[in-house]
Symmetry: C2
Subunit: 511 residues, 2 copies
Amino acid sequence: MSQPQQDKTAITPTRAQDFPEWYQQVVRAADLAENSDVRGCMVIKPWGYGIWENMQRSLDGMFKATGHKNAYFPLFIPLSYLAKEAQHVEGFAKECAVVTHHRLESDGQGGLRPAPGAQLTEPLIVRPTSETIIGASYAKWVQSWRDLPILINQWANVVRWEMRPRVFLRTTEFLWQEGHTAHETAQEALGETDLILGIYEKFAREWLALPVFTGEKSESERFPGAVKTLCIEAMVQDRKAIQAGTSHFLGQNFAHASGIKFQSREGREEHAWTTSWGVSTRLIGTLIMAHADDDGLVLPPRIAPSQIVIIPVTPKPETRDAVLAAAEQLAVELRAQTAFGEKISVEIDKRDIGGGTKTWEWIKKGVPIRVELGPRDLEKGSVAVARRDRGPKEKAFVPNAEFVGQAGAILEEMQAGLLVKAAAYRDANTVKIDTKEEFYAFFTAQNSGKPEIHGGFALAHWNGSREVEERIKDDLKVTIRCIPGGVSDEAGQCILTGEPSARRVVWAKSY
Amino acid sequence: MSQPQQDKTAITPTRAQDFPEWYQQVVRAADLAENSDVRGCMVIKPWGYGIWENMQRSLDGMFKATGHKNAYFPLFIPLSYLAKEAQHVEGFAKECAVVTHHRLESDGQGGLRPAPGAQLTEPLIVRPTSETIIGASYAKWVQSWRDLPILINQWANVVRWEMRPRVFLRTTEFLWQEGHTAHETAQEALGETDLILGIYEKFAREWLALPVFTGEKSESERFPGAVKTLCIEAMVQDRKAIQAGTSHFLGQNFAHASGIKFQSREGREEHAWTTSWGVSTRLIGTLIMAHADDDGLVLPPRIAPSQIVIIPVTPKPETRDAVLAAAEQLAVELRAQTAFGEKISVEIDKRDIGGGTKTWEWIKKGVPIRVELGPRDLEKGSVAVARRDRGPKEKAFVPNAEFVGQAGAILEEMQAGLLVKAAAYRDANTVKIDTKEEFYAFFTAQNSGKPEIHGGFALAHWNGSREVEERIKDDLKVTIRCIPGGVSDEAGQCILTGEPSARRVVWAKSY
C-alpha cells in the first residue's frame, strides 16, 4: 500500500490507516450494498448487483460451454436430510435458520405471532448448501450408468447464520452458484473437480484481474463431508488471503447418505461419485479489497456494470440540448465498439447535479473511464478522458473519433494493468520461509508502523500433521490456505518439527 | 380441443379425457419439474429451468431498456414489517413460513431439534413478496424529489405456504421477478404501471405466443394493499383463465407504511407514490396448458431451451464417426443462422439409446425442430426434418444447405403459427353474453360430453358491485378476470341486476 499521491483522499480512513474500516467506507461510497434491518442480511444495490450479474454471466457461459446445465432445487431442507451425513451436519447445524411454523395469527395485542396450530411436524432448514436436498433428487434420477454423469449448477441464495457479519465477506444470506455433479467413477469426479478449479482460476485471472494460488485444502479446512477440497486463494491489499472459490470431491459420502446408486456397466450396484463447487457474492468483497484504492472502488473493466460514463457538462441552458445530443451520439458510437470481444457498455449521467459531485461519485464507484463533454469540447470536436487507473485530476483531451477508436484498447490495457499490479503486489508479499523464527517474525514483526500486520503469503514446509496447523493457528492466527500440487514441488523440512515435507504449502492470515 | 389425429398419443390421459391429469403427465413427460419431498416445493429440472432462463433473459432486457436496474433485498422480513400495512398482512399472514430459531442441537436421540437457546427475539418471515422490506430501504434512500424515481427489479424466490400445491401453478416456493418503483407523482407511478403491463402483454404475445386480455382487477381481486391492480389474463386449453402477470399501483399506502418521504420541488414533505409488478414460474404452467398437445409439450421456438435437436442415426459402428462429424458440422452451420434476431440454439443428442426412444423424448419435450441424420442422408446430402407443429411421423427430406438456409424462417413461421392458433382458440371461446340465463348456461351446459365444463371467456355487463361478483362466484366459481379499459367500451345493463354498466368485463373460471 503506497501512500496516496494527492493530499486528500475520497475515502477516510485510508487503507494504511484502518483497512477494515476503509473497506466498509468503500462499499458505502461506491453505493454497492448496505446492511438491512435483518441482522447479517445485506441489501445489494444496483451498482453492486450489476457486478454480480457480470460475474454470473461470464461464469455461466463457462459452465455451459463445459456441458453443465442449470436447474433449481427447494430452498427448504427437511431437518432429517441434513442429519444424513455426519460431518456435514456437524459443520452446518450451528448456523441454520429453522422454519417451524407456516402461518401467523394475531397475538391479541395488535401484533402477530406464529400460529401454534400451524407448527410443522418436521422443522425445515433454510438451505446452507444443497448437497442433501439435491442428493435426494439424484437418487431418483439415477438408475443405470447410462444416467451418468449428471452435470447441474444452481444460482441461488443460501443462509448460514452469522454472528459477526461483514458485508459481502460474511453475511447470513448470500448469493452463490453451487454445482452438483454425479459420476460413474472416482476418476471422472476428480476430473470434474479439477475442471471447475481451472474455470475458477481463469475467471479470477481474466475477469477479476486477480492472480490466485490453486491447490488442495488440508483436512482441517475441508468442506464438511468432502474427501478433497480444492480452492483458489487470492491476496488482498492488507496481505491477508481470501478463499474465493472451492471445488469439492465428495467421494461416495453423499451418495451413501442420499442413496445415489446405479447399475454399473458390469451389472453391479454401485454408489455414484459426486462433486460440488461454488463461488459467492464474497467475490465482490474480494474484488474491492484487491483493487480499490483510497479514492474508492477500482473496477476491472471486464466486470464493471458500465465501462464508460459520459458526463455532459451543461453550464448554460442554451447549449444544454446540443451537449446532451452529442453525448447520446458519442454513446451510440462507443457502444458499437468492442472490448474483450463484447460491446462496450456506456452510461450517460444526465442528473441535474454539480459536475464535481458527479465526477467524484464515479471515481468512488470505480467506473473505468469517465468522459466529460461540454460546449467547448463540442466546438473543438474533442472530449476530456479520465482513467480510473490514473490520478483523479489527470485528463486527456482527445479528438472525438480518436477516442472512440481507442476505447476498446484502453479498456483492455487497463484490465491487463490491474492484473500486473495485483500480481506484483502478491509476488512482493509472497516469500519462501525455512525457519520457525523467520516464519513467526513474518507474521508478527512491527514494520512500517501499520496497525495490522498480516505478513503476506509464506511458502513453508509442513510435516502434514494437524498438530502443527493448530499450534500455528493458535500462535499466529495463520492457517494453510492451500497445498499446491504439481510442477513446483520441492522437498524440505517442516518449519516446526524438522520432519520431512514433500512440498511447500501456502500459509497466511485469512478472511 | 380437437381429437388427436393419430390413434395412440404419447400422453395418457388426453386433454379431452382429463385435463388436470394430462397437465401433470406433460410436466413429467417433458422432464420439466417434479415434486420434492418438501411439501409444495418443486424441483425445476434443466429443461424447465432452461425455459425460465429464456423468460428471464427477454424480460430482463425489456426492463433494462426502460431504465430499470436489478438489485437484491433480504429473503427474511421481520414480523413487525409485515404488520405495517393492514391489508397486506391480512393477505399474507395465513401463508407465511416463519423462522423462529437460528441453530440446531442434538435431541439426545440421534436426531436434531431447534436449539431452545437460539430462539429469535422477533421471528422472521420468509418473504411472500418484498414491498415491506424494500420499502424500508427506499425510506432511507429517498430524501428529495431528486432521488426519484427509483426503478428497481429483483429476481428472487418467494414462499407462500400452499395447502393444495400444483407444480408451476401453485407452489409453496416459486421463482419470480418483482419490480418495485417509487415516484414523485401519482401520474408518474400510474404511467409506470401501464408501461410494465405493456411489457408483459408484448412478452406474452411475442415470446410465449399467447394473446392476453389486459385490464384492471375488480376490488375483490386486487393485490393486498394496492390501489389498482392491472393484469394480463390468458386462456388455456380447458378454456379457463390464468393470471399471467400483474402490475400494481400502490398509491401512497406502502410509502405511508414504510415512511418513504421526500422534499418536493415546492419544499413540502410528501410521501412517494409506489408500484410493484411481477411474473413468476407460473408462466411455465401457463405455457404448457396453452400450447401442449396429447403428445406432450409444444414450445414456442423463441422460448425453447434448444430450438433444434439433431439426432444422429448410427446403426453401424463403421459409419458412426462420419455421421457424428456431419452432425457437428450441421450444428455449426445452423448456429451461424439467426431466428428472431438471435443465433439459433442447437443441441445434438448423442446418447447411446434407440432412435425411436430419442425421437419420442424430444416430441414430448416440445423441441420445435427435430433433424435426423444417418449414413444414407450423408450419401444424399440431405436431412430428415420434422416439426413439432406437424404430426409426429411427418418428415421432410431436404437438401442439407436448403434446410440450413430455411431454418430461421421455419422457426419464425412456427412461432407465428402458434400465436394464430392460440388466438383463434381464445376468440372461438370468447362470447358476448347479455342475459343471466345465457351466462349461467355458458358456464354449466353439458356440451361435447367433456368432464369439466369451463365455458370460456364471457364478456358481460356488471353493475360494479361486490355483491354481484360474490353471487356469481358462489353459483358458478366464475370471477371477473379483468375490466378492460379503453377503446372498446360499450354501455349496457348488468346481467344480474339490469343496472347500468359502462363496459363489458371479462368473466371466466380461473386457475
